[in-house]
């Protein structure tokens, strides 16, 4: 109820339009009975401020205008801190970031942590085999390309050389690799070879087992286009029965277009000697010293010459290459080489397999 004690509140509400019709009736009735207060009500209306359209022109300066591309899971501070680390932060954003850091101690620590997330390359961490990646021309290039394969090949050669030179008495016999015991081999002996397939080779060896050490020689793949390889080493001579006999050490050359082979022996142990008779001749095992005598090649010479032929290298100067060169060349030609070793504890057997391309050469033996 309006009275002279509270009329100012009613006047104020009236001037602000807060009175309903019923209240207004009360107010007007009160004014009729108190006309001295009409003037006071008018003064309320006079001081009513009109809404102006004035705008604060520097409003934008107050705003922290940053178009932050938010990342889900990150708040604005984190995005700005990362932008700073990333070197993408604008001057406006720096000011905002500085402010956010200023008002929070924990953010300062976080910002420090963000700045430490920049990774620096470890210059001491260098690739140790850089030279092996480089390419060079000719054989040298091949050696570098396949140094690991060469190493494997050399190891396997050494391995086979070792096991094949273990005599009946169990003592290792040194390889006589070059020309000390070299003998001439008649062409006729070299030419009279039957075609022996790998499985027959295995049978031949199995039939003639006389030692406790069993070697099985097999060509697991008959890709005849694979390059040749000599696995072991020794010197060939022609024995009294006109057989090619390896008196010390052995030589095993495999692959071969025709898979021609000839059996040889080391002492009482039968071995197989594979050679490549390209075009019906015997160019890989001998060099014609004259029209009737051929000179037996050392395994190294044989191997080099064979591979060079496979690579269609016209140069007959096989001495210019070493074994590693030609192994490398062979590996390069067939693109892949690997060395497998397996043990079978059941029958106490061991097997090495040296694979070049699709050609696989293996030795399996059992120690009883």
């Amino acid at each position: 109820m309006i009275n002279r004690l509270n009329y100012e509140i009613w006047f104020l509400d009236f001037s602000e339009g807060n009175l309903n019709n019923e209240d207004k009736k009360q107010l007007f009735a009160f004014l009729d009975s108190n006309p001295d207060l009409k003037h006071e009500l008018e003064s309320f209306e006079i001081f009513k401020l009109e809404n102006e359209n004035t705008v604060f022109s520097l409003k934008d300066n107050l705003k922290k205008i940053i178009a932050i591309d938010m990342v889900e899971g990150l708040d604005e501070f984190e995005v700005l801190a990362i932008k700073k680390v990333e070197g993408e932060i604008s001057q406006n954003e720096i000011e905002v970031l500085d402010h956010l850091v200023e008002i929070s101690d924990s953010r300062k620590k976080e910002l420090d942590a963000f700045e430490k997330t920049k990774l620096f390359s470890d210059e001491k961490l260098n690739f140790a085999h850089r030279e092996s990646l480089k390419k060079r021309s000719g054989i040298v290039r091949l050696i570098y390309n396949y140094s690991a394969s060469i190493a494997a090949a050399v190891l396997i050669i050494i391995f086979f050389t070792s096991i094949f030179n273990t005599g009946e008495d169990g003592n290792d016999k040194s390889i006589v690799s070059e020309s000390k015991d070299e003998k001439s081999i008649p062409n006729s002996a070299l030419a009279s070879n039957d075609l022996i397939k790998p499985d027959i080779v295995q049978d031949e060896i199995a039939k003639n087992l006389e030692n406790s050490i069993v070697f099985q020689n097999k060509l697991r793949n008959s890709d005849l286009n694979s390059p040749a390889i000599v696995i072991s080493s020794g010197t060939v001579k022609n024995n009294s029965e006109n057989q090619n006999e390896i008196t010390a050490g052995s030589r095993i050359a495999i692959n071969l277009k025709t898979l021609n082979s000839e059996p040889t022996t080391i002492g009482k142990r039968p071995m197989m000697h594979y050679i490549d008779y390209s075009a019906g001749k015997n160019p890989d095992i001998a060099i014609n010293d004259n029209s009737s005598i051929v000179k037996a090649l050392t395994p190294k010479e044989f191997f080099i010459k064979t591979v060079k032929n496979k690579l269609n290298m016209e140069d007959n100067d096989y001495s210019s290459l070493n074994t590693m060169d030609v192994v490398s060349a062979a590996v390069d030609k067939s693109k892949i080489a690997s060395l497998d070793f397996s043990k079978n504890e059941t029958d106490n057997s061991r097997e090495f397999a040296f694979n070049i391309g699709s050609l696989s050469f293996s030795r399996k033996w059992t120690r009883e």
């Binding site: 591309d69 990342v71 889900e72 899971g73 990150l74 984190e78 995005v79 801190a81 990362i82 680390v85 990333e86 620590k109 976080e110 420090d112 942590a113 963000f114 430490k116 997330t117 920049k118 990774l119 620096f120 390359s121 470890d122 961490l125 260098n126 690739f127 140790a128 085999h129 850089r130 092996s132 990646l133 480089k134 390419k135 060079r136 021309s137």
Partner: protein
């Protein structure tokens, strides 16, 4: 690309690719193999790649090889950072060591992009070309990676 240019790439980038691989797989032999395979691929396509594009190409190949590796070896799958695992970390005080550990805890894609960003100084666009991601995806992965690294550093209570 000539042989000389290829060899120049070996000189210029083999260390970078090796570091990238080493930091990713944490195994010297595997990293060596990755570098060998990467450059072998470059050599196989040497006629199609020029000196200017060789570096991103190398990283693209290395990254693809690593992805193949991760798929083959589940044990190498990276795990997101789990703060529960941080309790032992405070023993380490060396920042670099901590960062290495933090890096190992990143999801693989985060690890890859941030290494390319920081070690090789690649732009988002270039990283996108290497990884096959869009530029915005690269940015998101990098931001999340930094947040995870930051969280790891703070959790590990390293002297900041």
């Amino acid at each position: 690309m000539t042989i000389n240019e290829y060899n120049k790439c070996v000189d210029l980038y083999s260390d970078n690719v090796y570091r990238f691989a080493m930091k990713s797989v944490r195994d010297e032999d595997t990293a060596n193999d990755l570098v060998q395979d990467t450059f072998m691929r470059l050599w196989q396509h040497v006629d199609k790649i020029n000196l200017e594009t060789a570096k991103p190409y190398l990283f693209k190949i290395a990254n693809n090889l690593m992805i193949d590796l991760y798929r083959k070896n589940k044990f190498m799958d990276s795990n997101p950072i789990d703060s529960e695992k941080y309790s032992y970390v405070h023993e380490y005080t060396d920042l670099k060591e901590q960062l290495d550990k933090a890096l190992d805890n990143l999801a693989q894609i985060q690890k890859t992009v941030i290494m390319l960003r920081d070690y090789e100084d690649y732009s988002y666009e270039e990283i996108g070309q290497i990884t096959g991601l869009s530029e915005s995806q690269v940015k998101v992965y990098i931001y999340r990676a930094r947040k995870n690294l930051k969280d790891y550093l703070i959790e590990s209570r390293i002297e900041l």
